[in-house]
Structures are given as C-alpha cells and as structure tokens.
C-alpha cells in the first residue's frame, strides 16, 4: 500500500452490481460496457461457469456466470439481468450479474482489506470492502477472478486430455 495522507483523500470509481442479495464493485477503468442479455451460444465442453459466447458487434466474447463462478446458487435470467463486459488483456469477457446498481465514487480511506470468513465469496478474489453509511460493497479483484477462471478452464481441459 502506498503511503496515504489525510490531506489528499483519493477516490475510486466503481461500478456497483448485485449478486445474490449482496453488492459488489468493479474498477470502472476495466469496464468496457454494460448490455442486456443477448442470445447466448452455448459452448459444449466448456467450464461449467462459462455460459457461452455472444456476438458483441462482430466480436465473439465469452460470458461467465458470476453466480456459478462463486457458487452462489442458480437465479435464472430476468429483466434486470445484465452482462458487464470487462477487459482481460487484449480480449473482452462478459460477466453475468443479477442487476447493475450505480457508479459510485468511493474514498480510498473507506476501503478496508478483505476480512477472513465474512463474505460468501472466497476472500482470494477480493480486493477489499468499502463501508459506505449503511451499505457494504465488496470490491472484486478482477484479475484474480478471471485468471483463476482461466486456469480452472485450462486445468480442466488438460485433465481431460490426459
């Protein structure tokens, strides 16, 4: 952590979304866009949490169901369901969430390191928890979420090939 001084409180812009009755936040600089559920082409033999691929303006983009990713139980898609498209290296990956709430400016000093055993999501994927008045926003470490997703997907494939 960099040295912080009270005099200059920096802020982070975060896209807040809900997933299984809890609020989560993603660094806005990684978010490329938010769309409603389009037609999804299912991909056979893909990892369980990979919902399929979509056609995003002529590009094929894989979609991850974050509920499945974090083992939060099925929900089914409804009118609020959204896909948040995030950048992963040179590629885009879509994340299915229950609903997108708002974009928040969170002061850095409101962010605390992830506590152990408090959240329903494995703390390895968390960057911290923001405490705002009466709300808690769980900040996701996107690289960890995607990277482990990729490793799992690849691990599964090579186990199959062996």
């Amino acid at each position: 952590m960099a040295i912080e001084t009270k005099a200059q409180v920096s802020e982070e812009q975060v896209v807040v979304f809900s997933l299984a009755e809890e609020l989560y936040g993603l660094d806005i600089s990684r978010v490329q866009g938010i769309i409603k559920m389009p037609e999804v082409t299912r991909v056979p033999r893909a990892a369980e949490f990979v919902e399929g691929v979509i056609n995003l303006r002529g590009e094929i983009v894989p979609i991850i169901d974050l509920r499945k990713r974090f083992r939060l139980g099925e929900h089914g898609n409804d009118a609020d369901t959204r896909i948040i498209n995030v950048e992963m290296g040179d590629h885009l990956v879509g994340l299915i969430v229950d609903a997108v709430e708002e974009v928040l400016n969170i002061p850095s000093d409101a962010i605390e390191p992830p506590p152990e055993l408090v959240t329903t999501v494995d703390s390895a994927y968390l960057r911290g928890i923001a405490k705002l008045q009466e709300r808690l926003v769980i900040l996701l470490d996107l690289d960890r979420v995607l990277c482990t997703a990729e490793q799992q997907a690849i691990g599964r494939l090579s186990a199959e090939a062996a």
Binding site: P44, A47, I60, P62
Partner: protein, 665 residues
C-alpha cells in the same frame, strides 16, 4: 540488473526488423558458404550483412553487440580477401557468434543480460584472424581494388596471374621506402595490374606496412618471391596463383568493395510496408463483407420466391455487381497476406547443417519452390511440423555413412524440401533417400511395446502398419538420441497439420527412402464449411473433412460392441452423435438419442471415416474463423467460432479431434 538502451519503441521496431533480416541472411548464407567457398558475391553479401549489423548495434549503443559484430566483420573481411580459408571449424565459430548475436538482440526486448560471453566469442574469432597472418586490420588497410579493366586483362592474358603479399617488419624505421622497393622489384619481374596501396600512394610515401598486388608474369612464383626477398626488413612474402577468385561468373557482383553497409535495393515506388495486425483487421473486415454478401443473396432469393417485381430485379443487379466487387476485394486482400515460403525455408539449411554435424552424417539439402506463396498464418503454423520432419529425415531416414557405403549408396544423403501450389492447396514434401519405413519392423515394434497383440499386428495391411508412425510412442529407432527417437512428435505433426485443415501422407519404399507430403489450405482465415444444426446450436464442419452427406433413418443403424454403426456401400461406418459427445442435454432435435435418425455427414480424418449425426443441414458457406476468446481456446473438438450473416455464432468443429475423442470412448 536490467539493461537500459537509449532508444524509442519506434527505433526498437526498426532495429529489430532490420536486425532479424540480416541475421537470417547470415544464417543462410554462411551455411551456403561452406559448400561454395569461392562465391565472391556470397562473401560480399555476408560481409555487408555483418557490417549493417555493426552499424545498427552502434546506433542504439548496444556496445557488446557492436563489439562482437566488429570481430565477426574482421574475420569475414579476411575471408573476403582470401587471407583465410573456409573450413567447417571456422564456419562453426562464425555460426556460434551469429547465435550469440541473436541472444544479444533479444536483450533489447527482455532488458536483461542474456549471459552471452562476448569476450570469449570475440576471442575465438580473433584466434582465427591472427592465425591468418599478422596484418593490419581491415579498417586501416583498404583491400586490393580489382577494376573491371584489370579483370578483363586477367581473363585475356596468356601469362600466369599471381597474387603477391608482403609485410614490412614492424621494427623497420622506413616502411614506406620498403614498400616502394617491393613494388619496384615486383614491377621489374612482372606486370603489376593492381596493388594495395595503389602505385600513386606508394610514390607519395604510404603509411601502410602491408603490400598486396595482382600481377601477370611468365616467370615462376619462386623467381618472383626471391626478387622481393632481396629487400631487407620484408617478411611473410607470399606468391599465390590468382585464379577462380578473380574470374567471377557473368552475373556476380563487381569485386571492388561496394559501399559497405549499403541497404538492399528496395523499390520504394511500388512497395509499402504494412503492419501485420493492420492487414489482419483488413482481412477480418473483408471476411465480414463476404459473409454479409451471402446474407444479402439469401434475402434476395427470399424476395424473389414471394413474387418478383421490378424492385427485386434491381436488387438482383446490385447484388450481382456487389458480389463481383467483394470477390475481387477478398482476393486482393488475401494476396496481400501471401508471402513466399522462402521466409520459412531459408532457416532450414542452418538447421540441417547443425543436425547433420551432430549426428555425423553427410547431408545435401535441396530446396525447391521457395517462391511459392502462402498465407502468413499458414507459414507460421507449419514451421514446427516441417522442422520435425527434416530432423526425422536426417536422424531416422538417412542411414549412417558407413552403412550407406556398404549398401553402395552415395556417401552423402539427400534430403529434399519442396513446395508447390495445386488446386487451391499448397503441397509441401520432405523426402529422403534413406532406408525407408519397413512395415514388418513397425509391426514387430508395436508388439514388443505391447501396443498391439501379435494377431492384431499381423492383421494390419502394410500401409496401415506404416501409418503407425503417427501414433504416440511409436519409434523404430533402436537408440534414443536427443533429437528424435522418443516416438513423440510424429503424432503431433499430424495433429498440428490437421488442425489447420490439412493432411499428411507417407510414401515410402524400403531401401530407397521416405516422402512425407503435407497438403494445406492457402489460408486459415476463411474456410469453406458446411453449416449444420444440432441441439439448437449451429456448427460449421470444414469442407476439407466432409466426404458426403446422407439421410439417416433409425432402421439403418446397427450396433457393434455397443457402438452404433451403419453399413454404407461395402463399408462399416461408426456413428458419432455430437450431442452425446458434447454432453448436450435438452436437445431440441431427436437425434441425440441412440437409434434415432437425422442427417448424416460423413467426415474423414486421415484414413478413418465416421458419420456425424446432426439435426439439419443449412448449406455450404465461407466462414471467417475467429478465436473463442481466452477462456475457451483449447476445447477439444472445437476449432473456433464464426459470426454468420444473421448475427448468430456458429462453432467450428475440429474434426480430427472429434474422431479422436470418439475413439477413446
């Protein structure tokens, strides 16, 4: 400690581009030099490449690289001036320093020291330089200038031509006078056509301590030698006949040093360099156009069936016109991506030399069809398979030298690498004149390794037995070398080639040799495919794997050992149900269930044929292949995805892997 270079990214790009070009040229030309040590033009081009490298390294202040190229350049200069002889050992040292230069080049990207010992590499080069006569370095001593007039005289003369060199001892207090004396003495005994330093410089009092001349004389070399030897303080007098080196072939470059470091001639008016990624984007857009065109034609035919009027006729004219333009555009963009296969093949003489020297075999590599053009993506993809086939040909194919001699074969084995275009495909062959693949030996080996029962091995036809080289873990080689013989590789060669929608075939004859024939599409970006639906998804089957299409009824299906098969003509065809293979549940069609009918697409992988059972056939179409993204690459059975004219995504089937998956079950 990270290295720092004072260069901008743009400069690095330019440096890399040029440096890679020069290094590739060196690799190829130096190997060629070993066989053609008297090729003046070749020596010149090697020297120029080294000189350019030195300049580049100096420009970005990569001092260690500059130091090594300088040492390399001096040795090459001695070669060029015939002061050093081409030997395999010298070529080894030069190639080793080229390898070191490659590592030094990479430092620019990694920003870390590569661990190349520049000092000892320079030392090894210097050892050769010193071994050839202690003479001033190239920088101080301009070479002998042979003008075309002199060359004409040399060729026309009936007297013998000699090259004379002499060195004034360093202890001499008046070297200029000694040089003058040597020149005068030689001029009395012979007709001096050219000298270094030139005569006018000698008259004025030269600073050089080394004298070199080409002269015509009717006297014998010893007389010339003794004429010079009478002059004090002159050592190392050499009188050698001047022959081949100065009677160049008609086409060869002029011998007088061309401006060192001159850039290769590029016709700036007709060529523009374009980034590969930009070309890829153009290609993708063109691909989308091709797909949209198909969609437009579809709409047009739908309209026409609903009752034609003037609007439809007009639409028809526009679509026909548009189709023609799109086809031409597509062809042009494709052509822009084509590069001669030479860009890959030029690496191979070096590879073959290294492998054959390590295995102590004599190999003559013949390369044909270097000018054949291929899509860049295909060239990138076939590099490793071809390298593997070449290594295999030398290691497994060619017999050891002693055995070849015993068999009455030429001592030097021949490996031929050829490329040519044929009917929209490219064919690449790697052949050797070695021992060939013995079907009986393949059978024995498979039984010994427990891969087949003796009965199963006996049941194989010769060609089936030979095809076993493509199985993992099969090798007939007795001992394992570090190059090949582990039995891995050939199966990967086949898998890689087939992933590109290509095929591999073997032709072999015991005692005469083996030919591997790779057939590949000209491009990977767009392929013709058959679109089918199954379980609500659209799949594209590459047409290169499709044999034929049939209607399938449940009654045709029989069961053998629990697997579904049908009898097609006199052949028993195993059935593959995509749904069960891909674990698709809730299929909308009925074909997911055993015993049900549907459409049958007969597909082929090598010599294996199988029937894919699908719901519906949509038709044939050109599809643009796209990656499925980072989370989904490498799924067995899928080669990628494609966006159809309707906006839907079709998944492209990887037929070889689907058949392999099915065989495992």
């Amino acid at each position: 400690m990270p290295l720092t270079f004072d260069v901008s990214p743009d400069e690095i790009e330019a440096f890399m581009e040029d440096t890679n070009e020069q290094l590739a040229l060196l690799d190829q030309a130096i190997v060629e030099l070993e066989a053609h040590s008297d090729d003046e033009a070749l020596l010149q081009s090697i020297f120029r490449a080294a000189h350019t490298l030195k300049g580049n390294a100096g420009l970005i202040e990569h001092h260690r690289m500059a130091e090594l190229t300088h040492a390399l350049e001096s040795v090459l200069d001695r070669l060029r001036k015939r002061l050093l002889e081409v030997t395999p050992a010298l070529i080894d040292v030069i190639l080793a320093s080229v390898d070191a230069l490659k590592a030094l080049r990479d430092e620019l990207v990694t920003r870390e020291e590569s661990g190349v010992d520049v000092a000892s590499a320079v030392h090894r080069l210097h050892a050769y330089e010193e071994a050839s006569a202690a003479a001033p370095t190239a920088a101080e001593q301009p070479g002998l200038r042979i003008t075309p007039q002199v060359r004409a005289r040399l060729q026309a003369a009936d007297a013998a031509a000699y090259r004379i060199t002499a060195i004034v001892e360093p202890s001499s207090i008046a070297p200029a006078a000694r040089i003058y004396q040597v020149h005068a003495a030689l001029s009395e005994a012979a007709e001096v056509l050219a000298s270094a330093p030139p005569p006018d410089e000698i008259e004025m009092g030269t600073t050089a301590t080394r004298y070199e001349a080409v002269a015509l004389s009717t006297r014998d070399p010893e007389e010339l030698r003794s004429a010079i030897a009478t002059i004090p303080e002159v050592a190392d007098i050499q009188v050698a006949p001047q022959a081949a080196a100065l009677t160049p072939k008609q086409s060869s470059a002029p011998t007088e040093g061309p401006p060192a470091g001159a850039a290769p001639q590029i016709d700036l008016d007709t060529k523009v360099r374009i980034g590969i990624d930009q070309l890829d984007r153009l290609m993708n857009l063109t691909g989308e156009l091709v797909v949209s065109r198909t969609h437009l034609l579809q709409i047009e035919s739908d309209l026409a069936t609903r009752g034609g009027d003037q609007v439809v006729t007009d639409l028809n004219q526009v679509t026909v016109q548009l189709s023609r333009i799109i086809d031409q555009l597509h062809e042009e963009v494709m052509r822009a991506r084509m590069v001669p296969v030479a860009s890959l093949f030029t690496k191979f003489p070096r590879l073959v030399r290294d492998v054959s020297r390590r295995l102590d075999k004599k190999v003559n590599l013949i390369i044909d069809g270097q000018e054949t053009e291929l899509d860049r993506s295909v060239i990138e993809a076939i590099g490793d398979p071809v390298i593997h086939l070449l290594r295999n040909a030398i290691d497994h194919g060619l017999e050891p030298t002693a055995e070849r001699l015993r068999l009455g074969k030429p001592e030097t084995g021949t490996v031929r690498l050829a490329a040519h275009q044929q009917e929209g495909h490219i064919r690449i062959t790697v052949s050797d004149d070695g021992r060939g693949i013995d079907a009986a030996k393949m059978r024995r080996s498979a039984v010994e390794k427990g891969q087949l029962t003796p009965e199963a091995a006996e049941a194989l036809s010769d060609s089936e037995a030979i095809e076993m080289v493509f199985r993992p873990g099969v090798s007939t080689k007795q001992e394992v070398t570090d190059l090949s013989g582990r039995g891995v590789g050939m199966d990967i060669v086949r898998t890689n080639i087939e992933r590109l929608n290509g095929s591999v075939e073997i032709h072999t004859e015991v005692g005469l040799g083996t030919t591997f024939e790779l057939t590949l599409p000209l491009t990977l970006a767009i392929i013709p495919a058959m679109l089918v639906t199954t379980g609500g998804n659209v799949y594209a089957v590459p047409l290169s794997s499709v044999v034929e299409v049939h209607q399938l009824t449940g009654r045709q299906i029989q069961t053998v050992d629990g697997s579904e098969v049908i009898r097609l003509r006199d052949q028993v065809l195993p059935l593959l149900r995509l749904c069960s293979l891909f674990h698709i549940t809730g299929s909308s069609g009925s074909n997911g269930h055993r015993g049900s009918g549907g459409r049958l697409v007969v597909v082929r992988w090598g010599r294996i044929e199988a029937g894919l059972v699908v719901d519906e056939l949509i038709g044939n179409q050109q599809v643009v292949i796209k990656s499925l993204g980072p989370l989904l690459t490498g799924i067995r059975g899928l080669a990628g995805g494609s966006i159809l004219g309707s906006g839907r995504i079709a998944l492209i089937l990887d037929v070889p892997n689907i058949i392999k998956l099915a065989m495992k079950r």
